[in-house]
């Protein structure tokens, strides 16, 4: 208190006491006692002198009644001036204390003249103390035990509740006289007065009879008989809410054993009702967090049970208590990009489906106001590097996120770590208040300050190895451990002069080490955890709590799945939008890549090298693959961190029992939308630069599809791995096979025999979405561009017939001739070759004709090496000749049609085919899909002839097995379930099918489960090796 204020107060005391008959010695003594509380010996003298001067003590009082009136007016003016001065400096709490002091001063010799009371009344008015409260304080201080005093905010503790004196609040204590408690509602302070003869100890000090004392947080009152009255117990009587909360939390014989065999918890028994703030302390590694996790149901205990209102955790009924529990973890579980308000708002939205928008807003605002965050509501939460709100505020916001849904039982892990002492106190204060409203709160606390320590109702102290070694009132813990080790002053828990406790003492005692003969500490403890536990078990009987069997109250009402998805999506979107860097990079990435890529591969390529023509751009096939890789990459990188980033928030929200599917759907929705935007930007810009006409939608759909697959793939790895770094290291592992097996870089026919099937796309490649995408885009671009689409059908006939007549029939003829010439040979090698050739001829011809009898020749007989004769050979030869003629005619007809078409289009419909071709047809792509670079046009594989050229014109034969989807690469159509599909749509469907499958693995977290299983196996091996 500043000198100025002290002076002002001294003056105030003087003014009051000199009214009506002047100061008495009792009053002067009382002033001295007040001074003693705040001042040292020297200052007391100084201020006393000041007081004496003001009050005119020791001077003869000039008894002049007419002047009296004048003085009092003058004093009133002075009083006002002083009070205004005080008003500017003192808090409301301090002002209440000043008012109480003034009343006590007057009450010290019970001189209640109207003048005096009037001045005090003025003071209270200027101090802005409500009149009713003033009256209450007045009656509390002036109460002598004779008249009846019964007020809402008063509690009387006495030996036995008199039947005729029924108070609103009363308490039975074995003391003589009465102990009165006052609650000053406006400032939330408690005061006590004792009217009796016994020595009642408040925090170890005797209460002066009749005087008012501040009953602060964590205070304890001890009666001579040894009964203890704890702050929390008493305060509870003033809180009406507590009574209505019916809650019992019983944990019995909890044990937790880790997979490696070590114990995390042993024999923990807790039984609590509503409205308690329980601290958990212990050296590091003592199992505090383990205990909290087990109690909150995050971890399953190895043995023992936990019941809330009789409903056991991890039982079939545990659904009923979902949402009753809240957990505030040590880490910040906030969405950094959102504001304080948004964080809370979306959380509330997920909790209260039945709230209207107004109700929600009100709830959020009141929660924010309760936590003193209302001024900060529009600030972004930020992170450790980009701070916008303080650590304390973050912690409070974390708590608010749990509080807003008002769980009946709240677990808080180290809420004060890293906070300033003021912030720490604020946070614990808040928890205390909540407990007073009927919540049961467990708090793991580390090195609490004296004030914080005393705020707890109970303290559980854990020792290394998960032993609970103390469970009871906090201050008593100190006396208990002091007594247990026979220390001096064991009966005093707190410092006799300052009232401080030192929780460190407890740990010093618990962990005291044995000293060796050289006076050095050894590693051996004087009392080991087991002994401490035994000692505690012998000295303390476990408390019982009345178990309640009605269901605990819960305000939680989770929205429908669809609503959850929407809320999640909106929240995610907002947080993404507020991250400007993220948005900018994501939106610029695609256009930039498109510009770089397309710009680089656009060159003057027309035959005269003067201009750019799409048709002659040799880079188009590679560009298409790069576009797919870009889409994959963008999709993967944008999603790879999504779930990892949210994991903390997911942990918090796991207590809400929200839908994982809704969460995933929201992620997928947003990512898909982002992918759609990215890919459309990429496609439009890339196609503009490279002058790819009429294919924007085609490309976009493929790139979007592939990006979506990558999104879900990214989410999969994001859900399975723990750190973003791991995930980013994994990306090449996912992308490179996609590149290698896309079909462009390496020919599918020239891969290791283990994976490749000649003439078909290898199954490993079928698992790559890039291969489907590339095929889709290449086939579509070639087949359905404005130029080729006019000719494709004719060219298909033309090139197929050409292949058959020029290569296929010729090859068969060659083989037949070989057979005819050598079928009489006895040489083994030749015979084998003949068998092979006949088999091949048979296979090919049966396949061709669809029947085994062609031209009256039964191929099964004709191609039997034992029955083959030259005559049969010549017969077959004639048949082949006929086939050749047939295909020749087909070829010529197709060519004729095409010629007519070209002529007609150019002459009758004035098409500029050259121009159309230049704009829509790409030569390099045509070479690729027609496989013209291949030297071999026909090959033998597994007794069949394979067409090696013009895959794009080669319509595969419908397979016998209807689920056989496999064809050669760049096939124009695909088969499945007996139907034919266009390659483009078929491939897109395949990729979406993959996306769906990966969504399911994501939903069931299969990848994560596999990895966890693998880790388990790995650790088992590691342990075995150690043994």
């Amino acid at each position: 208190m500043s000198e100025e204020i002290l002076k002002a107060l001294t003056q105030l005391y003087a003014i009051i006491t000199k009214q009506d008959g002047g100061v008495t010695d009792t009053e002067r003594d009382f002033v001295i006692t007040i001074f003693k509380e705040d001042l040292d010996q020297d200052s007391i003298k100084e201020y006393l002198a000041l007081y004496d001067e003001f009050v005119g003590y020791g001077k003869e009082v000039e008894d002049e009644p007419d002047r009296k009136k004048l003085t009092s007016v003058k004093d009133s003016v002075k009083t006002l001036a002083i009070c205004r001065k005080i008003n500017k400096t003192l808090t409301q709490k301090q002002k209440v204390v000043v008012l109480i002091k003034l009343l006590e001063l007057v009450g010290s010799d019970r001189n209640f003249s109207s003048q005096r009371m009037e001045i005090i009344n003025t003071v209270s008015e200027v101090f802005n103390i409500v009149n009713e409260e003033y009256k209450l304080i007045e009656s509390f201080i002036l109460y002598t035990g004779e008249d009846r005093l019964d007020k809402e905010d008063l509690l009387i503790a006495r030996k036995r509740a008199d039947e005729e004196l029924q108070f609103t609040k009363q308490l039975e204590v074995s003391i003589s006289g009465e102990l009165i408690f006052l609650k000053v509602r406006s400032v939330d302070m408690y005061f006590i007065r004792y009217l009796g003869q016994e020595e009642i100890l408040l925090n170890g000090f005797a209460i002066k009879r009749g005087l008012t004392s501040h009953f602060s947080h964590g205070s304890t009152i001890k009666t001579p008989v040894g009964d203890a009255l704890y702050y929390s117990d008493l305060v509870r009587h003033f809180l009406s809410e507590v009574e209505s909360v019916s809650l019992s939390f019983v944990a019995s014989d909890l044990q937790k054993q880790f997979p490696n065999g070590a114990f995390g918890l042993r024999d923990v028994n807790i039984a609590e009702g509503p409205g308690k703030l329980i601290g958990i302390m212990g050296a590091s590694g003592a199992g505090k967090t383990t205990l909290l996790n087990v109690l909150s149901g995050i971890d399953m205990p190895t043995a023992g049970s936990i019941k809330i209102n009789g409903v056991e955790f991890f039982s079939d009924e545990s659904e009923k208590i979902k949402g009753v529990i809240g957990y505030v973890s040590q880490d910040d579980l906030l969405i950094e990009e959102l504001t304080v308000y948004q964080n809370l708002y979306y959380n509330a939205k997920l909790c209260f489906a039945d709230f209207s928008e107004e109700e929600l807003e009100k709830r959020v605002m009141s929660t924010l106001a309760n936590l003193g965050l209302d001024q900060r509501k529009d600030l972004r939460v930020g992170n450790a590097l980009d701070k916008t709100i303080s650590g304390g505020q973050r912690k409070r916001l974390n708590i608010a996120l749990e509080l807003i849904r008002e769980p009946a039982v709240l677990f808080v892990d180290e809420p004060t770590s890293g906070l300033s002492s003021r912030d720490s106190e604020n946070v614990i204060d808040l928890l205390k208040e909540l407990s007073l409203k009927g919540k049961l709160i467990f708090v793991v606390i580390h090195q609490p300050s004296s004030d914080i320590y005393k705020m707890f109702d109970k303290m559980m102290i854990m020792d290394v190895g998960g032993f609970p070694i103390y469970y009871g009132p906090p201050v008593e813990a100190i006396t208990y451990f002091k007594a247990a080790t026979n220390q001096v002053g064991a009966d005093k828990g707190q410092c006799p002069t300052c009232g401080n406790v030192n929780p460190e003492q407890i740990f010093n005692i618990i962990e005291a080490k044995v000293v060796d003969e050289y006076g050095e500490f050894t590693n051996k403890r004087k009392v080991n955890p087991t002994q401490w536990k035994e000692l505690y078990d012998t000295t303390h009987k476990p408390e019982k709590v009345e178990e309640i069997h009605e269901l605990p109250p819960r305000s939680l009402k989770i929205p429908t799945y669809l609503k959850q998805t929407l809320i999640f999506a909106k929240r995610d979107l907002l947080s993404k939008l507020s991250n400007k860097q993220y948005m900018l990079i994501n939106l610029l990435e695609a256009p930039l890549l498109a510009i770089i890529l397309a710009f680089l591969v656009r060159y003057k390529n027309s035959p005269d090298s003067l201009s750019y023509v799409f048709r002659f751009n040799e880079n188009i096939p590679v560009y298409l693959m790069m576009a797919i890789i870009v889409a994959l990459f963008m999709g993967l990188t944008v999603s790879a961190e999504e779930i990892i980033k949210d994991r903390k928030i997911l942990k918090r929200e796991s207590f809400l029992n929200l839908s994982w599917n809704s969460y995933l759907l929201s992620k997928v929705t947003i990512l898909f939308a982002l992918s759609a935007i990215q890919t459309i930007l990429f496609t439009v810009i890339g196609n503009l630069i490279l002058e790819i006409h009429g294919m924007t939608l085609t490309y976009w759909l493929v790139l979007f599809t592939i990006s979506c697959t990558a999104n879900v793939m990214g989410l999969n790895i994001s859900s399975a791995f723990n750190s973003a770094v791991t995930v980013y290291i994994l990306i090449p592992l996912l992308i490179i096979p996609q590149m290698v097996l896309s079909g462009l870089l390496f020919n599918f026919d020239k891969l290791n025999e283990l994976v490749s099937t000649k003439g078909k796309v290898p199954v490993v490649a079928d698992m790559m979405s890039s291969r489907w995408a590339y095929e889709a885009i290449a086939v579509r671009q070639f087949k359905d561009n404005e130029y080729e689409s006019k000719f494709y059908d004719f060219e298909k006939d033309e090139f197929q017939a050409d292949f058959k007549s020029s290569y296929w029939v010729k090859e068969l003829k060659n083989r037949l001739n070989h057979v005819i010439e050598n079928h009489k040979s006895t040489d083994d090698a030749t015979a084998a070759k003949i068998r092979g050739n006949l088999e091949l001829i048979k296979n090919e011809l049966i396949d061709e004709a669809g029947t085994s009898v062609v031209n009256d020749i039964d191929l099964n007989i004709a191609c039997d090496p034992t029955k083959f004769s030259t005559a049969i050979g010549l017969e077959l030869s004639r048949y082949l000749e006929k086939l050749a003629q047939k295909y020749l005619d087909e070829y010529n007809l197709a060519v004729q049609k095409k010629e007519k078409l070209i002529y007609g289009l150019e002459k009758s419909f004035s098409y500029d085919l050259g121009d159309i071709k230049n704009q829509h047809y790409n030569e390099s792509l045509a070479d690729l899909v027609r496989n013209l670079s291949s030297k071999e046009r026909i090959r033998e594989f597994n007794g069949r002839l394979l067409q090696n050229v013009d895959p794009i014109f080669n319509v595969p034969k419908a397979p016998i097995n209807s689920i056989n989807y496999r064809t050669h690469f760049f096939a124009p159509v695909k088969f499945l379930f007996g139907a034919t599909y266009d390659t483009y749509w078929f491939n897109l469907s395949v990729i979406w099918g993959m996306t769906l499958i990966m969504y399911l693995t994501l939903y069931f977290e299969l990848l994560r489960k596999v990895i966890v299983a693998m880790e388990k196996v790995g650790s088992k091996f590691a342990r075995k090796e150690k043994l």
Binding site: I902, G904, K917
Partner: protein, 298 residues
């Protein structure tokens, strides 16, 4: 609002589209019902006539002897090869490029020769006759004018092979077109050179002599007039024939005599041919050939 109106505009445009399209659709449908046309005449007859047409490369000697400068402007630029879409265009231009290759070759314009070779390769591949060109050998020969004889031999041989292959595959129309293209280009170059050297009577006579070859070509094209593109060409060639018909070729027959030259007995052809051709005729031919060629190479 503006967007909506654009959208409406698009609808209208697309909505009006089918009017034009339906004609085209009918045309496309008609194609599907097309039956295979084959020439009335047998492949053998065609082959016989084809054999009678001399190789255009033969003219190259004449040009070189005339001592005129190489002029790339006379030729069809190899860059055009990508403009040809139909087999008609491909085949006839293949013939043209063949002649151009020979012309570039006698003047040792190797860079141009390589370019023509590439164009020929592309067209030949498109016509599925690429296998008859040994491009490695041709490239080696074509870049050295001293090998002109070998080149002549090899191309003639190639052409014969191609011819028989196409004949076998009932695609003699392509042979005819290749031949026509080669001949037309040779005639064109000769006309151009002749215009630059009006005093060179040998050149002018040579032009006149083409009347005989032209008759063969008209005859050949006649067989394929069911192909509309060939029909068009045939019409033009017939017009050219009308001009050529004004030229008179008089052959005075005389008995051949035996003479000893350097100790070897040789038969001497004593018949003489007189070509009556006016400069107007040459000019008319030049202009007509230019026009026909223009319609082919563009």
């Amino acid at each position: 609002m503006r967007k909506i109106s654009y959208f409406l505009l698009c609808l209208v445009v697309f909505g009006c589209g089918p009017g034009k399209k339906s004609d085209e659709q009918a045309f496309l449908d008609s194609l599907n019902n097309l039956e295979l046309d084959a020439p009335m005449i047998s492949e053998e007859v065609i082959a016989e006539i084809v054999q009678q047409v001399p190789s255009p490369l033969e003219i190259s000697y004449l040009l070189k002897d005339a001592g005129t400068q190489y002029n790339f402007g006379f030729l069809n630029t190899p860059d055009n090869s990508s403009n040809y879409n139909s087999n008609f265009q491909k085949a006839i231009n293949l013939g043209i490029y063949g002649t151009d290759l020979g012309y570039a070759n006698i003047y040792e314009e190797n860079q141009d020769a390589i370019k023509y070779l590439n164009s020929i390769k592309g067209l030949a591949n498109d016509l599925s006759i690429g296998q008859y060109f040994d491009f490695g050998t041709i490239a080696r020969l074509a870049t050295n004018s001293k090998n002109l004889d070998s080149l002549l031999l090899i191309t003639t041989q190639n052409f014969n092979d191609i011819n028989s292959y196409l004949q076998e595959n009932k695609r003699s129309n392509l042979s005819v077109l290749i031949l026509t293209g080669g001949w037309l280009e040779a005639l064109h170059i000769t006309c151009q050179v002749a215009q630059a050297n009006p005093t060179n009577t040998q050149l002018i006579e040579k032009i006149g002599e083409q009347k005989i070859t032209l008759d063969n070509i008209v005859q050949l094209l006649q067989f394929y007039t069911q192909d509309p593109a060939i029909a068009d060409l045939h019409k033009q060639i017939v017009e050219l024939k009308a001009t050529f018909d004004q030229i008179e070729i008089i052959t005075v027959y005389a008995e051949p005599t035996m003479e000893e030259v350097n100790g070897i007995i040789v038969t001497k052809d004593n018949s003489s041919t007189t070509v009556n051709i006016t400069t107007e005729n040459v000019e008319a031919i030049r202009a007509q050939v230019l026009k026909i060629r223009e319609s082919i190479i563009s």
